[in-house]
């Protein structure tokens, strides 16, 4: 048990919670018990019902059956507002921030207050709160200017501003680099010290073991078990054990990467410079070469120019200086041989309101065109085939993309970009928020691409990079720190300092 006295009622008690969606039983009689001052982790595959359960607790969904008690009192949480009133706040996987407003404006959004907005006073209060928790954030910055990691801190700050007692975080670490995760855990431990409860959804097992007091494993809408990590910690096979509990089958975490000869230059960057949203230099004089037959990783803490670099290569952001060549020809002239799997799979990689077939045609529409016409039958057949080949869990090609879970959507996008048979595939945070099963499939797909061409992998997940990449470029503040050849150089201690901007004599 945690530090709270045993006689106190649990902060959250959910009993027999049932939630159905058309065609899906998302929660099927779920029990959850979270004490005050406890960090409780929800584990499970994509689509296991973790997010649904938490959205019920945060007042976004109404359960079809079941009971919720907060501090021993039965409550009905009919809206997020009412959940807030009970001290429950949720940070979603997709942040709920208004891009054009400043940090402090976002924090008071939806709160009652006087008609006149006292900006100076507000900013002082937000700044003070931020400093209390050791957040380094400019309260006057506009959200769109911030990196994903910074935006997450704004979300946490927003919850703290509302005095939440139970903080729900849906995959908060998926976007963060190792240092940032440590910082987040620091915050979580502070919350715990103040007797607040944290419910934490994640797929990363090491994190679970490091931070959790209790772990609840969900599968297909049901609780498989509730365990304490301190017991599991002694077990050498902890990771496999938990992984098996989640997915319900043995998962091999080794990717089985075969050594492979690099086959000649694919992508070459010559002193490439790109500006960020605020006009600042986001990528500065970046040069590197990527060969066919290798996975080349760009590793760095979020917000150090990765996004701008990828957008420039994909043609979504103007290049400020320097040049990029794909197979010897200027990239700006012809991007046909380049495919890009974006980090934002919901709004950049796909169109939620369109069908899977239409999404499949999004980047491949030229292949399906005869004269001015689209060949719908071929699109449908192709989609059906790819859904099967990539194990996308979907009723059929006419399903709307918004109905897919994150992992399935990612597999669909990968299937689409693969089908274009690109020479170079850019994969941006390709396994962010995916469960182990889906992550493994994505990794295998990237290794297949390595056989056919090259991969530029942009990731903040050190483990992913070390498992997959042949070479790693560490970037810091838009500059290339160093390139490490993982096939030769096993001295990985350098990577951490490099990510933090420290260049130690090599």
């Amino acid at each position: 048990m945690s530090s709270a006295p045993a006689h106190l009622p649990p902060a959250v008690l959910m009993q027999g919670v049932v939630k159905r969606f058309p065609g899906v039983q998302a929660n099927d009689g779920v029990d959850l018990r979270v004490l005050k001052g406890e960090i409780h982790t929800l584990l499970g595959e994509n689509g296991a019902g973790k997010t649904t359960l938490m959205k019920i607790l945060a007042g976004f969904y109404q359960p079809d059956a079941g009971d919720i008690q907060i501090n021993g009192r039965r409550v009905v949480l009919a809206s997020p507002k009412e959940a807030f009133a009970q001290g429950i706040g949720m940070i979603h996987q997709h942040f709920q921030l208004v891009g054009n407003l400043t940090v402090s404006e976002n924090i008071i959004l939806g709160l009652p207050g006087p008609f006149r907005l006292d900006r100076a006073q507000l900013e002082t209060r937000v700044q003070a709160l931020a400093e209390t928790y050791g957040f380094d954030i400019d309260v006057r910055a506009r959200i769109w200017e911030l990196s994903v990691g910074e935006q997450q801190r704004v979300e946490i700050l927003r919850m703290l501003f509302r005095n939440v007692e139970v903080l729900i975080m849906d995959e908060p670490t998926a976007v963060l680099a190792p240092q940032e995760i440590e910082r987040l855990f620091g915050i979580m431990r502070r919350l715990k010290e103040e007797d607040k409860s944290v419910i934490f959804i994640t797929h990363k097992l090491e994190e679970v073991l490091e931070i959790s007091d209790y772990i609840t494993v969900l599968r297909r809408g049901k609780v498989m078990s509730t365990v304490r990590p301190d017991k599991l910690r002694q077990d050498r096979l902890v990771s496999t054990e938990l992984a098996r509990m989640m997915v319900g089958r043995e998962v091999i975490l080794e990717v089985g990467k075969q050594p492979q000869e690099a086959r000649g230059e694919l992508l070459r960057l010559v002193r490439l410079s790109v500006r960020g949203d605020r006009g600042e230099v986001a990528v500065k004089d970046m040069s590197f070469q990527l060969a066919a037959g290798e996975i080349f990783a760009v590793l760095g803490v979020a917000g150090n120019g990765q996004r701008e670099l990828v957008e420039a290569l994909a043609g979504l952001r103007p290049v400020q200086g320097g040049q990029a060549f794909l197979m010897g020809r200027p990239l700006a002239e012809d991007r046909a041989a380049l495919a890009y799997v974006p980090e934002d799979r919901l709004h950049r990689g796909s169109i939620p309101a369109m069908t899977l077939a239409e999404n499949m045609a999004l980047t491949r529409r030229r292949e399906y065109t005869a004269g001015p016409l689209l060949n719908h039958r071929r699109i449908l057949d192709d989609t059906r085939r790819l859904i099967e080949a990539f194990h996308v869990m979907a009723p059929g090609p006419e399903t709307l993309a918004r109905q897919l879970s994150g992992g399935n959507l990612q597999k669909l996008i990968l299937a689409r970009e693969f089908a274009r048979q690109p020479a170079l595939l850019i994969a941006e945070q390709p396994t962010r928020g995916l469960d182990i099963g889906a992550t493994e499939e994505v990794w295998q797909a990237l290794l297949r691409q390595r056989r056919q061409g090259g991969v530029l992998l942009v990731s903040g997940d050190l483990k992913e990079v070390l498992s997959l990449a042949d070479r790693v470029l560490v970037i810091f503040r838009g500059q290339a720190m160093d390139i490490i050849d993982l096939n030769r150089d096993q001295n990985l201690d350098r990577i951490g300092p490099l990510m933090a901007g420290l260049k130690i004599g090599t």
Binding site: R20, F21, P22, Y61, Q62, A78, S79, K81, E82, A85, A314, G315, L316, R335, Y340, P342, D344, H347, R348, G349, S350, I351, P352, A353, M354, E358, A361, L362, T363, R365, R366, Y368, T369, P372, L373, L374, H376
Partner: protein, 356 residues
């Protein structure tokens, strides 16, 4: 006591239609109360509207006449709406189309072979409306100027320009001061059918409806337009040339409204005169959104709105209630159906007790 909205999770297939029909019913009840207030039996009033619109083949032909410009303007607004472009300027594009087509009909027709006059007029009308739509389109694509403002403002420019023409240089010298151009020569009038006022423009509108549907649902161009509307960021990612599409869509959108204009001028009034800009461009916005931007539904809605207008005229004749009541009814229906679409997706929950 307070009200909150909750998203509905499950609903049977007929639920949506039922809610929308209920919305229409609520609007009818509301306007019925209005009838009672002005001392008219609502049953009789609605009966007269129905009789006026559908009472005879002749009456119904007028419904189709009224529906023609609404359909074309609805398609104009709807096509742009599919890629999230708000063309509020169909009214002005209609006027420009009428002007350009009329210029051909009035001044160029003697120099053209008879068989080419009508095609040339339609083409000119399409081009005139299209160019007027192109202005906000280019401004949006090149300079990111908000198309709602520019297209709306150009309506006033177009209407004033039209007035200048028929009050000034184009005024009929034999018209004894009547503000309008001379009647079109016979070759420049759109043919009418079956002894009614149904003119060639009606069939042009039907054809346009099918063409727009085909473009949107069967061609790559239409797919790209829909993709831009449904997911602008994904469309940019997929390399869809958004700005080029904005320009083409506004050209075609304006062209459709322009066809509505020449239909009214050369099919109904047979000259340019006051009353050409009768608000069809705005009614088109209503039609497009009630139809949720689907071409065939725009056709259905245009027919109903036409029926309402004709029925309103009949009502005025019989009961002396101003025919403007049909505009009130139109507004009430729009309001209630849009509200119903919210109710379709959300459940209203009444709650007792103080705010938390």
């Amino acid at each position: 006591m307070r009200i909150s909205l909750q998203k509905r999770s499950r609903q049977p297939w007929w639920f949506g239609s039922l809610v929308v029909l209920t919305g229409v019913l609520v609007a009818l009840v509301f306007v019925g109360l209005l009838f009672m207030w002005v001392g008219v039996n609502p049953w009789q009033a609605y009966l007269e509207i129905l009789r006026g619109a559908f009472g005879s083949a002749d009456n119904f032909s007028e419904v189709l006449v009224r529906a023609t410009p609404i359909l074309l303007c609805g398609l104009a607004v709807g096509l742009a709406g599919r890629m999230l472009i708000w063309n509020i300027g169909a009214e002005g594009q209609l006027v420009l189309g009428a002007m350009a087509g009329s210029a051909v009909g009035l001044f160029a027709s003697p120099h053209l072979p008879g068989i080419l006059v009508l095609p040339a007029m339609l083409l000119a009308a399409f081009a005139g409306g299209g160019l007027w739509g192109l202005v906000p389109g280019l401004l949006k694509a090149r300079l990111k100027v908000n198309e709602i403002i520019t297209s709306l403002m150009l309506n006033y420019v177009a209407i004033l320009w039209l007035e200048h023409l028929y009050f000034g240089p184009w005024r009929d010298p034999a018209g004894r001061g009547f503000p309008g151009t001379a009647l079109f020569p016979k070759v420049a009038c759109l043919p009418r059918f079956w002894g009614t006022r149904i003119h060639l423009g009606f069939f042009v509108a039907l054809a346009a409806m099918v063409v727009i549907w085909f473009l949107l649902s069967r061609t790559r161009w239409g797919f790209e337009i829909r993709a831009v509307g449904a997911g602008p960021e994904a469309a940019r990612y997929a390399g869809i040339p958004i700005n080029r599409h904005i320009i083409w869509v506004m050209l075609i959108s304006g062209g459709l409204a322009g066809l509505a204009g020449i239909g009214e001028a050369a099919g109904i009034h047979l000259r340019l005169q006051q009353g050409l800009a009768a608000g069809n461009g705005y009614v088109g916005i209503i039609a497009a959104w009630l139809a949720r931007l689907h071409p065939f539904w725009i056709g259905v809605i245009a027919l109903l709105l036409g029926a309402l207008a004709v029925g309103g005229d009949q009502l005025q004749i019989v009961t002396q209630v101003p025919s403007a009541i049909s505009l009130v009814l139109e507004g009430a229906i729009l309001f209630c159906v849009l509200a119903a679409q919210v109710i379709k997706d959300y459940r209203l929950v009444l709650k007792r007790g103080p705010r938390p």
